[in-house]
């Protein structure tokens, strides 16, 4: 029998606000343990939370970017549980009135993955196990998170992967998070069940917690899918439980069963007031949203005529896409820009991470200047490429690397004059060509290039020569 995978995702994303959700402490990653803390975020008796409104704005941006409705009235709740990294013994989160609801992300196949809700909450600290002891680092406590919950809409591991990648890209574009899985700023809990193909009823689900890499997630899902099928095939029943993925064994293992499930005793956080957002405020935030990856892709392919593969590579990195867009300003053939970026500039940014950060020595305006010269026929491709290399090496603009003289004589009228001179100076080559010796044309072109010291646009020179000889 074949089994269908049914999966839903809860994704936690750390927001990249400068300060924490309820106090002024920095959210910087990688500081000495317990140095980014204050009485509020370590929950000292008597302290009160103070909502960072940037968190609300970022969450609304995330919601709008994933087609969510924004609740005008929202509130914070306490989720009570005891764990040493949770300094107040409750997490301030949102229970029944999340900030955003009913959104979706569209996969390449056109399938929509429905987003049930997005809510804001505080992160907990972290346990550190060292020298046989356990320590608590509260630096991460109070870092703002959004939790994005989908419907159980996934039917394959590839869909899950594609969704997370798309989500990650959208959040990076919107600028609300750096979504670095390895630093834990994007973590997924996956709900998974299986059912015989064609069956309507959902199977019993398990939840795999805290996956912070694509590889782990794919492995864990595959393992759990196979495991559940084995359980069913052997005539047993899948138990509803929380599991974790152990990378050493490549297996998922039980963390706690349904009977040990936490009773979080949610209730309204009395220390904070209602979060109300007007429609005007929502629209104002919407107007600040940048163009999203899907729209960019669409524009690159349909307006710029760039191949889908190339367009996807450019749109995959927010900084590259922004650089590309700026470099395309006023350019007729945007394809030249994407080609220069992908075939030439990217040689200097071989890894994903480097493309991500895209710390390039020249500005987009500088590339734009260069491409406009190509566009206007003042610079041929070969010269343009070598100039770009020099620009990337030195960080200097094209005006400092190519002299006026280099650029002179290559515009169309100047080129026509040179071509005319070459034609009249080489009557034998002209007649050879007319007699069918195609090689003779090459010597004419060679003459033009020599006369212009290689600055001429070969295509244009060919066109002019052909006109003159005919």
């Amino acid at each position: 029998m074949t089994y269908e995978l049914v999966s839903g995702l809860e994704t936690h994303i750390e927001l990249s606000t400068k300060t924490k959700i309820f106090c002024g402490c920095t959210t910087a990653f990688g500081s000495e343990p317990n140095t980014n803390c204050c009485p509020i975020c370590i929950g000292l008796p008597g302290t009160l939370p103070k909502l960072n409104h940037q968190v609300v704005r970022y969450a609304i941006m995330a919601g709008l970017a994933t087609n969510c409705q924004i609740n005008n009235i929202s509130k914070m709740d306490r989720k009570n549980y005891v764990y040493p990294d949770l300094s107040k013994a409750y997490q301030v989160s949102q229970f029944d009135k999340p900030l955003c609801k009913n959104g979706y992300i569209t996969l390449d196949s056109g399938k929509k993955i429905n987003i049930l809700r997005i809510h804001i909450e505080e992160d907990a600290g972290k346990l550190v196990h060292e020298r046989g002891d356990t320590f608590v680092d509260y630096n991460r406590g109070g870092v703002p998170l959004i939790e994005i919950v989908t419907e159980p809409d996934f039917r394959s591991i590839d869909e899950v992967k594609e969704y997370v990648e798309k989500l990650q890209l959208i959040m990076k574009y919107v600028g609300v998070s750096d979504c670095k899985m390895q630093e834990g700023s994007l973590r997924c809990d996956v709900n998974i069940s299986v059912r015989p193909q064609g069956e309507e009823k959902l199977g019993t689900r398990t939840e795999i917690k805290n996956m912070n890499s694509f590889t782990f997630m794919a492995k864990a899902l595959q393992y759990e899918y196979d495991r559940q099928i084995d359980v069913i095939e052997s005539g047993e029943q899948v138990i509803q439980e929380t599991r974790r993925y152990n990378d050493d064994t490549g297996e998922t293992e039980s963390m706690r069963g349904k009977e040990d499930a936490h009773d979080y005793r949610y209730f309204r956080e009395p220390d904070l007031v209602t979060i109300s957002t007007t429609d005007e405020e929502i629209e104002q935030i919407r107007s600040l949203l940048p163009e999203l990856p899907s729209a960019k892709l669409d524009r690159y392919i349909n307006e710029y005529g760039i191949s889908a593969t190339d367009a996807a590579i450019i749109a995959k990195y927010r900084k590259v896409a922004e650089f590309f867009d700026e470099a395309c300003e006023g350019v007729k053939a945007q394809k030249i820009v994407s080609n220069l970026i992908i075939s030439q500039i990217f040689r200097r940014f071989p890894t994903d991470g480097e493309k991500e950060d895209f710390e390039i020595s020249i500005t987009a305006k500088m590339l734009n200047d260069l491409v406009l010269l190509i566009d206007n026929g003042k610079l041929n491709m070969n010269l343009a490429k070598s100039t770009l290399e020099k620009m990337l090496d030195t960080g200097k603009p094209v005006s400092e690397l190519v002299s006026e003289k280099d650029l002179s004589g290559v515009d169309e009228s100047a080129l026509r004059q040179i071509c005319e001179e070459i034609v009249s100076a080489n009557p034998s080559a002209v007649s050879d060509f007319k007699n069918g010796k195609t090689n003779a044309f090459k010597s004419l072109i060679g003459g033009v290039m020599k006369a212009t010291k290689g600055r001429a646009d070969a295509m244009l020179a060919t066109k002019i020569l052909e006109e003159l000889i005919k």
Partner: protein, 490 residues
């Protein structure tokens, strides 16, 4: 000293007129604490150095001819649940033994910036849970009018200290009556401000949606003075809105035509002598030109269960953080897991009443019980709020007893919890509705124990109830205040 003249103003004049230096005044108070705190058990810690340092600074100002602000140099105390930087703050619980805050509560910052002289931290029911101060891990505070009776609770230590003249005034906190009830028991004035009038930042939470800090003082004028100094919108407390307007300047306004509401439900189950004193007070008000408006308040019967459900629910969450990992008491017993360490610590560190309320609160929030208890209580809270709103359509002030009785004998509370809870009936509805209320003395019982009258105002109408109380105080000061033979005599 005249009985209605504000004590704070009186002491301030002594300082300004250089009849006594601030250091002498402070020393007098410190000496009297030394002498009488053994009888009262009002203070759980004395901050002699802090007090003398501040006094010295004040004397310097006086010597240089600088103007003193109203609370400057006046010796006072804080309930031990108000965070004081570098000064141990325990909530009178074993679980917070040795806990020294690294920051100041906003109210203490405000007072300290005026050079208030902090004599020490005062006794209270553990985590403010109790009506007699007897759940304190330091034992209860005693009533200055009769040491065999309790000072009340939970701010019993403040009331005992102010009533026993070993502090000029103090700040307490009131979640269900914890300022007004001990003020009533000790013959003092206690003001529970509108929820949001005073910042809660630094007040160690019992029930966050009900807690409010306020003054316990010897006279109404003192209460107005202190309230004006602490009611301020605080960016550190999102629920704070600040006071409506300064109240001190609004005292001494004619109350002719003031509509005073009286609800019969508020007088059910009230002891006869208390009822009689209240009836006499109503007559006084009539003679002052006030108009009495009778109305029904049937929702009152829900107030107690609503209070105990909501307060315990919030407490169960607020007190979850005492796990001994970061501060406070940790069990000496062996433990094999962090879970066991936390369990043992909490079982040993919390007293019985606190454990009872944590369990009750955990229960009412648990899935399966939430709807029947917590949710229903929230709905009823709305009904209580509405009932008071309606009442204030037809009156300016509501007059009730503060407590249906006078100060309990020691040990009363531990005998019958339910009966003790019931003594909160007059005060808890006010916290549920978030309203301001003041308790002022209105007579004595046959044993000479003070009887308290509560005046309730509409939200942010502190000046209305303070003025009404002030007029009453002026009319019958000789019948409501009595000197006790304790503490500083000036």
């Amino acid at each position: 000293m005249e009985k209605t003249k504000g004590k704070i103003k009186y002491l301030g004049e002594l300082l300004r007129n250089k009849e006594i230096s601030c250091q002498e005044l402070t020393t007098k108070y410190l000496e009297s604490i030394n002498q009488d705190n053994g009888k009262l058990n009002a203070y759980v810690s004395v901050t002699e150095q802090e007090a003398l340092d501040t006094a010295k600074a004040v004397d310097k100002k006086i010597a240089s001819g600088e103007e003193l602000s109203p609370l400057e140099g006046i010796p006072m105390t804080l309930k031990d649940n108000i965070s004081t930087k570098d000064i141990e703050t325990t909530c009178c619980s074993k679980i917070l033994q040795g806990y020294v805050p690294i920051y100041n509560a906003t109210v203490w910052d405000l007072l300290k910036s005026q050079n208030a002289v902090l004599l020490g931290k005062t006794n209270m029911d553990e985590f403010a849970m109790g009506s007699s101060c007897e759940t304190s891990c330091f034992g209860g505070a005693n009533n200055p009018h009769n040491l065999a009776h309790v000072a009340g609770g939970s701010s019993g230590g403040v009331a005992s200290a102010v009533g026993g003249n070993i502090a000029a005034y103090g700040l307490g906190s009131d979640t269900g009556g914890s300022i007004r009830q001990p003020a009533s028991f000790c013959g003092l004035v206690g003001l529970k401000p509108t929820y949001g009038a005073v910042s809660r930042y630094g007040l160690i939470a019992y029930a966050s949606s009900l807690d409010q800090i306020g003054p316990i003082t010897s006279t109404v004028e003192d209460a107005a003075l202190v309230f004006d100094a602490i009611s301020k919108k605080d960016p550190m407390d999102s629920t704070s809105q600040g006071g409506a307007e300064p109240t001190l300047a609004k005292l001494n306004q004619d109350i002719k035509g003031l509509k005073i509401g009286v609800a019969k439900e508020y007088f059910e189950g009230v002891r006869d002598d208390v009822k009689k004193a209240l009836e006499q007070s109503i007559k006084t008000y009539v003679s002052l030109g006030a108009q009495i408006v009778y109305f029904d308040l049937p929702v009152l019967k829900y107030a107690l269960p609503v209070y105990y459900i909501l307060a315990c629910a919030e407490a169960s969450s607020n007190l979850g953080r005492y796990d001994s990992i970061r501060y406070g008491y940790r069990t000496d017993e062996n433990y094999h897991s962090i879970h066991e360490m936390i369990c043992k610590t909490r079982s040993e560190g919390f007293g019985k009443e606190v454990q009872r309320r944590i369990l009750l609160g955990t229960y009412v929030l648990s899935s399966g019980y939430y709807d029947a208890y917590y949710k229903k209580a929230q709905r009823l809270r709305g009904a209580v709020v509405k009932a008071f709103q309606n009442a204030f359509q037809s009156c300016d002030v509501i007059l009730t007893p503060t407590v249906p009785m006078t100060a309990f004998e020691q040990g009363f509370s531990s005998k019958d919890q339910i009966e003790t809870y019931q003594t909160d009936i007059c005060t808890v509805p006010i916290n549920i509705a978030g309203l301001p209320a003041i308790s002022i003395p209105c007579g004595f019982d046959s044993k000479g124990l003070p009887i308290g009258m509560q005046l309730i105002g509409n939200t942010f109408c502190e000046s209305t109830i303070l003025n009404a109380a002030y007029q009453f105080e002026n009319a019958c000061a000789n019948q409501i205040y009595k000197n006790v033979d304790l503490g500083v005599k000036l």
